[in-house]
């Protein structure tokens, strides 16, 4: 039995739950959108979500109600809602489960958000590889449309909200909100310079909100059970629950929904079953590949936005990757840099070129060809990438390098000194390079 009452995963964890419209309605689904349409003005929904303290679950953790409040109120201006279902952050797989197992929960959240910001059209941008998810969502959208939850007269309210599925085609960067917008417009997913922010100038140059799948999944519950209930979960500044995707060297990898603010140790040891084969933890990524590495010293850090940031990393996407002592940290940074170099969109020179150089240097250190000046070179490069790009991808790609250099510098030095990976061929055999 789960230790905490699941909220977003409740239906999914109910034996026999099929995830179709009838099952969702039997579980109390679509009551929140009915209530919103009948009892609340859009402004009141925004105020309610602001008071709930809900923060975005995609990565940045920006307060959702505040984001909505930036949308101009002028009813003559078309507005758009984009659902960010482009889950691609290494180590993260929560949205995939929410989409494939309980699609109507996020659709109801989408309708609530669209109503709040005055959008008549919402696009669900689902990552291209999620073929099953796209099928499940398409079916769910058809069901919701047939039942009058989506269309020109939502629940008989006279309100129009259309929801369309828009499939991506394989590009990590499209999870960045402005790149996602460009991609819906049919272009390369290159992030836009901000300002102007999407709230003023987004999709088709119109006011636009981009919200993550998990963020939207919270909305029906906040409406149904109230702000007081919601703020009783989690911490004062990070209320609610969070779905953490745990992977790597643990006995029970999986998605675990817990209140924000539980210690990292509890997530790993009690929920994910501890480190496999009796090994010891060597490193932990607490919030997806863009987050700085933690060490066992950080196991008592509380998993909320503030505590993780204070400890030098970020809660990010909620992807928690565990590495035991058989893992070479230079190899881990090299592996992730392969990802970042491949996925750099190419718009900004520091990121496009820098990710390649970081990958090359990390590779030669890992393969025993490192040079004495390489560590200073890595740091110099990182300093010329972070904060010098249009989007946060530059900051993301230097996080694994700088944090492994900080916590595991002696490993880098040993690679260069001994002209080999001290972990030996066993590690390279796993590498996938």
């Amino acid at each position: 039995m789960p230790k905490y009452e699941p909220v977003l995963l409740k239906n999914i964890l109910t034996p026999g739950y099929a995830g179709d419209l009838a099952a969702y309605e039997r579980a109390g689904g679509y009551q929140a959108i009915r209530k919103v349409l009948k009892e609340y003005q859009p402004e009141q929904v925004i105020d309610l979500v602001k008071r709930s303290g809900l923060r975005g679950r995609g990565g940045a953790g920006f307060p959702t109600g505040t984001k909505w409040s930036f949308i101009p109120k002028d009813p003559s201006v078309p507005k758009y809602l984009c659902v960010n279902a482009d889950e691609s952050e290494p180590g993260t797989f929560k949205d995939r489960e929410l989409i494939e197992r309980d699609p109507h929960q996020m659709i109801e959240g989408t309708l609530i958000a669209a109503y709040a910001i005055g959008a008549k059209v919402a696009y669900i941008y689902i990552r291209g590889e999620f073929t099953l998810g796209a099928k499940v969502l398409a079916r769910a959208l058809d069901e919701a449309r047939a039942k009058g939850y989506i269309g020109t007269n939502v629940c008989g309210s006279g309100r129009e909200i259309q929801v369309w599925l828009h499939r991506g085609a394989g590009a990590y960067i499209c999870g960045e909100e402005t790149a996602l917008i460009e991609s819906i417009e049919g272009k390369r997913g290159l992030p836009r310079a901000k300002p102007p922010f999407p709230a003023i100038n987004g999709l088709y140059q119109r006011p636009t909100v981009v919200n993550n799948v998990e963020t939207l999944g919270n909305l029906p519950h906040i409406i149904n059970r109230g702000v007081e209930w919601y703020t009783s979960l989690g911490t004062a500044k990070s209320p609610g629950t969070r779905i953490f995707s745990v992977s790597g060297h643990v006995n029970r990898p999986g998605n675990y929904e817990v209140p924000l603010g539980i210690p990292l140790r509890e997530l790993i040891e009690e929920h994910a079953g501890g480190v496999r084969n009796g090994h010891r933890i060597k490193a932990i990524i607490p919030g997806g590949a863009s987050a700085a590495f933690f060490t066992p010293e950080h196991l008592d850090v509380k998993l909320d936005f503030e505590s993780v940031a204070q400890a030098g990393s970020m809660l990010g996407s909620g992807g928690v990757t565990i590495m035991d002592e058989t893992t070479c940290m230079v190899w881990a940074a090299y592996n992730l840099m392969g990802f970042f170099h491949h996925e750099s969109c190419g718009k900004c020179t520091p990121c496009r070129e820098g990710s390649g150089w970081l990958h090359t240097i990390l590779g030669r250190i890992e393969h025993g060809e490192g040079r004495a000046e390489d560590l200073a070179q890595l740091e110099h490069l990182c300093g010329n990438i972070a904060g010098k790009t249009v989007c946060a991808f530059g900051d993301a790609e230097v996080a694994p390098v700088l944090s492994t250099l900080k916590h595991f510098r002696e490993e880098y030095e040993a690679h260069i000194r001994e002209k080999r990976c001290p972990m030996g061929e066993r590690v390279l055999a796993h590498a996938g390079h």
Binding site: F93, E185, G248, F339, H430, G432
Partner: protein, 173 residues
Amino acid sequence: MLSEAAKTRIQELFPRYPDKRSCTLAALRIAQKEQGYISEEAMADIGVLLELTPVQVYETATFYTMFTLQPVGKYLIQVCRTLSCALVGAGSLIRHLEQKLGITAGETTPDGLFTLKKVECLAGCGAGPMMQINDEYYEYLTTDKVDRILEDLRRDGKSSLASGPFLIPLQMA
């Protein structure tokens, strides 16, 4: 050349968007589904339909990793090589597949049946090592399981070992 049926499917999407260009990704996907890859002729047809220049279609087609401008094998095997999968043995799995198929990653078997690719994170991190073959995900892979999947595909064109709706940890199912 795009078939009339494909053109109709693309045109059916127009009412969803205020700008036809938004149909570019869907149009490219439809073209690829029909021909197995995206030809220059298909891109030209898409340009006419969406009122775009050939370069506008081409620049979009070349940005996304799921679009291929060259023919690939009947079964496109994409193995995740990113950290979580690599920690649980993606590297060994790729080498096993290379050995089994007699090709290196990036190549297609001489009979045109399998193309093997190493790809970045597919959001199956907790169920690694994993791979995608055409539209299906395959997770919790072992070398035995991979062998069975290849045999199934050769024999039946599909495998019952494909992943169902995502639910992990499995013991909660």
